[in-house]
Symmetry: C2
Subunit: 181 residues, 2 copies
């Protein structure tokens, strides 16, 4: 497959595809293009997708539930190995093969189960504390749904999903569009 075709599929340009790939090495064959199989394998390895990841869910609310049951996570190698919630009503509940745990056990469980990723799906006021505790317990990355900017050391990557901001970005674009028209 040529960079041209890859670009069409990825909503970008052929030159962009070639530059981006060249950043990680030389994958294609001149005159021929890229082998899809080879390219997939190389990219999976670069992206760290050729292995599974041990994930803890922090916050067993509705967003937590939706994530927990989201089949795409499991199928991509993200394995739930623990769930935490501070609500005494929820602690002890069974979620699939998991049981909701108390935050009291947080550090111990993270370490014992060798958890690498933490997904924070809890209200803003508890998020910073749990982020810090997760970092101190040795977690490698955080996916944050709480609408605050977490303060963590730079060695620990954080990805933010801010649902309100996504809607606000739409509102902005629509409002701007009206201005031009």
């Amino acid at each position: 497959m040529s960079s041209e075709e890859l670009a069409a599929r990825g909503q970008t340009t052929a030159a962009q595809v070639r530059k981006d790939l060249s950043h990680f090495g030389s994958f294609g064959k001149r005159g021929l293009g890229y082998s899809v199989d080879q390219l997939r394998d190389r990219l999976r390895s670069i992206l760290g997708l050729d292995r599974s990841w041990r994930v803890a869910l922090v916050g067993a609310g509705r967003i937590g539930l939706a994530l927990f049951e989201y089949p795409a996570f499991r199928s991509r190698g993200y394995d739930w190995v623990a769930i935490f919630d501070s609500d005494p009503e929820k602690i002890g509940q069974a979620w699939g093969d998991q049981v909701v745990r108390s935050p009291d056990e947080f550090e111990k469980v993270l370490q014992d189960l060798d958890i690498e990723l933490v997904i924070l799906a809890l209200p803003a006021d508890g998020a910073q504390e749990m982020a810090m505790r997760a970092v101190d317990a040795g977690v490698r990355g955080i996916l944050n749904f709480a609408p605050i900017r977490l303060n963590v050391p730079p060695k620990v990557p954080v990805e933010d999903v801010n649902l309100v901001m996504e809607l606000e970005a739409l509102s902005f674009q629509i409002t701007q569009g009206e201005r031009d028209a």
Copy 2:
């Protein structure tokens, strides 16, 4: 408040704050800084947040439910005015003050209720069709949770939330970090 202080809060630089704001006008006072109240109001207006938006939810699964019950949406002026799902079991169910509707009524309801934003929280295979139908019915913007790139006319902004990609971005950063170390 000075651009310096705003920058510290927003994880950016003072020059960046001033440049960004200058793009929309001149809000500050030399020697003094910015009036927080004035700035908030002006920004809310620029971002289109000084009004409410009529939103339809497409897909009454677990992600849809989590969004529907997410209090921050309502409190920011995003009003749910319709819910759609193709599952006959779900059609007719009451969700708060709403009733889950059949996609058969989609266009009619969007138009009758003057719906401006659509949130797609359904599997990838139905998303493109519903996006097109929404656009044809006059929707102004789409928030898309389905893991596909929607093909819609450029006048209709789309924001994508791809949960798997967020996790993959973490995996990548962790894997890269290991390489440096």
